[in-house]
């Protein structure tokens, strides 16, 4: 498939798209993600009220009461509005931390796979060491060391995502660099940079996209977990994990404070996992039956 000339890109894309639509779960995943992105973008239009405005007289209002569709938290803040604005934060955190993982991990994988030898050995040993850490624990330690904030949570999550991206990239570079078209271009005198970025990289993108989509799902959960532990988003930010954490003192009286933000996390993560699974079926020929 990868040896085909570039001019067939369009039809290849079309072929992928047809296959993609056959996988209903992937389409559903894409639909969920688009929905969340729309909610995030138009949060200020859709949200009934200001997500951080407190109305202490309305504290812990039940859902469907007094104009609070999903109820109010202990400070009388509208949970629906907070969830809508929370979508902005979760999607942004996911995007930034996955970008960190993809850029750093991708570069590491490209260099290790392309040059091989000592560079490969050293880099992959380091990746092995990073993989020996349980990821959530590494995120907690990095985040706590840098200081609790949303920004540092994104860095921590980006870092823990590096090893898997690096491995996936390296594996596809190894397979790709022996291909005839690469050998041909090399014999024409193409430079390393040209070979890596314009010959090999474009053909390694498919598994990378799959891995990045799944990493996005992981990043949303990790960010919410860090915020839940008090290491990520700080009050009064409307972040889903922090919302769950702030509701845990009232679980015996006000179930809605934790239930709805948790469902939002679950849905968003599910969307990315569905899409990632579906993309893998389409883009990874090894998974075809």
């Amino acid at each position: 498939m990868n040896d085909k000339p570039q001019s067939q890109d369009h039809s290849l894309f079309y072929e992928h798209w047809v296959q993609f639509r056959k996988g209903k779960s992937a389409v559903l995943g894409l639909f969920i993600i688009v929905l969340f992105f729309l909610l995030a973008v138009f949060a200020s239009v859709i949200a009934p009220v200001d997500p951080i405005a407190q109305h202490l007289d309305a504290a812990l209002t039940h859902p469907f009461h007094g104009g609070y569709l999903l109820g109010a938290d202990d400070l009388g803040r509208d949970i629906l509005s907070r969830i809508l604005f929370g979508a902005r934060i979760s999607l942004m955190v996911g995007a930034i931390s996955v970008s960190i993982s993809v850029i750093v991990g991708g570069l590491i994988g490209l260099i290790a796979g392309y040059f091989g030898g000592l560079a490969d050995l050293l880099v992959m040993r380091f990746i092995d060491i990073m993989m020996a850490f349980p990821s959530i624990m590494l995120a907690i330690v990095i985040c706590a060391t840098l200081g609790p904030s949303l920004q540092n949570a994104m860095i921590a999550i980006g870092v823990i995502g590096i090893p898997s991206i690096a491995r996936v990239t390296r594996a596809s570079v190894l397979a790709e660099k022996e291909m005839d078209y690469v050998v041909a271009e090399r014999s024409l005198g193409a430079s390393h940079v040209r070979l890596i970025f314009s010959a090999i990289l474009p053909n390694c993108v498919a598994p990378l996209i799959v891995q990045a989509t799944l990493a996005y799902a992981g990043a949303i959960i990790s960010a919410a977990s860090l915020s839940f532990l008090g290491l990520g988003a700080q009050p009064p930010t409307p972040e889903w994990g922090y919302m769950v954490s702030s509701g845990k003192e009232f679980i015996s009286t006000a179930w809605w404070v934790i239930t709805f933000p948790g469902l939002a996390i679950l849905m968003a993560v599910l969307g990315f996992n569905l899409l990632g699974d579906g993309l893998r079926d389409v883009l990874d020929p090894r998974m075809k039956e």
């Binding site: 779960s25 040993r125 380091f126 092995d128 060491i129 990073m130 020996a132 850490f133 349980p134 990821s135 959530i136 624990m137 590494l138 907690i140 330690v141 990095i142 706590a144 060391t145 840098l146 200081g147 799902a217 959960i221 919410a224 977990s225 839940f228 532990l229 008090g230 994990g241 769950v244 954490s245 509701g247 845990k248 679980i251 015996s252 179930w255 934790i258 239930t259 933000p261 948790g262 996390i265 679950l266 993560v269 599910l270 996992n273 569905l274 699974d277």
Partner: protein, 337 residues
Amino acid sequence: MLRYIAKRFFLVVPTILGVITLVFFLRFLSPGDPARLFLGERATPDAVRVLRQEWGLDQSKTKQYLTYMGKVLRLDLGRSYNTGDPVAKEILARFPATVELSIVATVIASVLGVLAGVVAATRRNTIADFVAMVGSLIGVSMPIFWLGLVLIIVFAVNLNLFPTGGRLDGRMLTDPITSFYTLDGLIYLIKDHDPTYLYSALYHLVLPSLALATVPLAVIARVTRSSMLEIMGQDYIRTARAKGLPERSVIWSHAFRNALLPVITIIGLEFGYNLAGAVLTETIFAWPGIGQWLYSAVLGRDYLAVQGGVAFVSVAFILINLLVDVMYAYVNPRIRY
């Protein structure tokens, strides 16, 4: 086989040293000085200087590193700043709680996950397959800290079936015999014919182990399904069917046994993750294990405790992975090194 084990073990040593090194240098990313952070904002410069000297922070990073590594090799992880106890002792005091929880969670996840995976694969494209696969996707996407709280709301607060947290009813807390409370319960049951201790230990295990089992269960179900599907397409399965074997025997003794290899690997890995990654579950259910302890050490900026704890957990994780690899080679006759 022995040569393979020796080789693998030899390869693990640099990884372990690397892990401890990385944990050590991670601390220098911190913007503040540990001694100043520990003493608080109002500490006098003199007090900070004395403490820095006491902790060896006034020496060069290389010297500090070599001193630390030297101690670690003698299994001395230093003393916790917050309690003054040796870090190694504190870790060993908490580890059994985590091991107990992880074992129970992994057993639940393995039994249910394998069953769901086999059912889904053998009844492909039926309702059962659909339910199992949708369920496992939801499981993989589950925020555990939230699931834990929902379990508490439903089963502890509203239905009052299980306790909200802890390992045992407070009044029963005595010096444990084995540090594994279910084993202690069995001992009391046999010795004194008194089941209350065992009941209490089991009741306390139910909710946290269900929460911890959710993600591994989903992963194991998915791996089992795809492994079974791959095997079910093989020629020898068709042969087995062709010679008239009952479907049950085809599934369990021909297909399942061969599909088990990747499943065993994933179960081992998930057990390792559970041991190390139970921070959230332990925090929510007030489970006095190593995850909860490490989290409070992180918050308390008890950095020797953090260093030692993370190193310990990572080494445990590495060793479990090694064990899984060795087991894999042992079980799979196609791999001989």
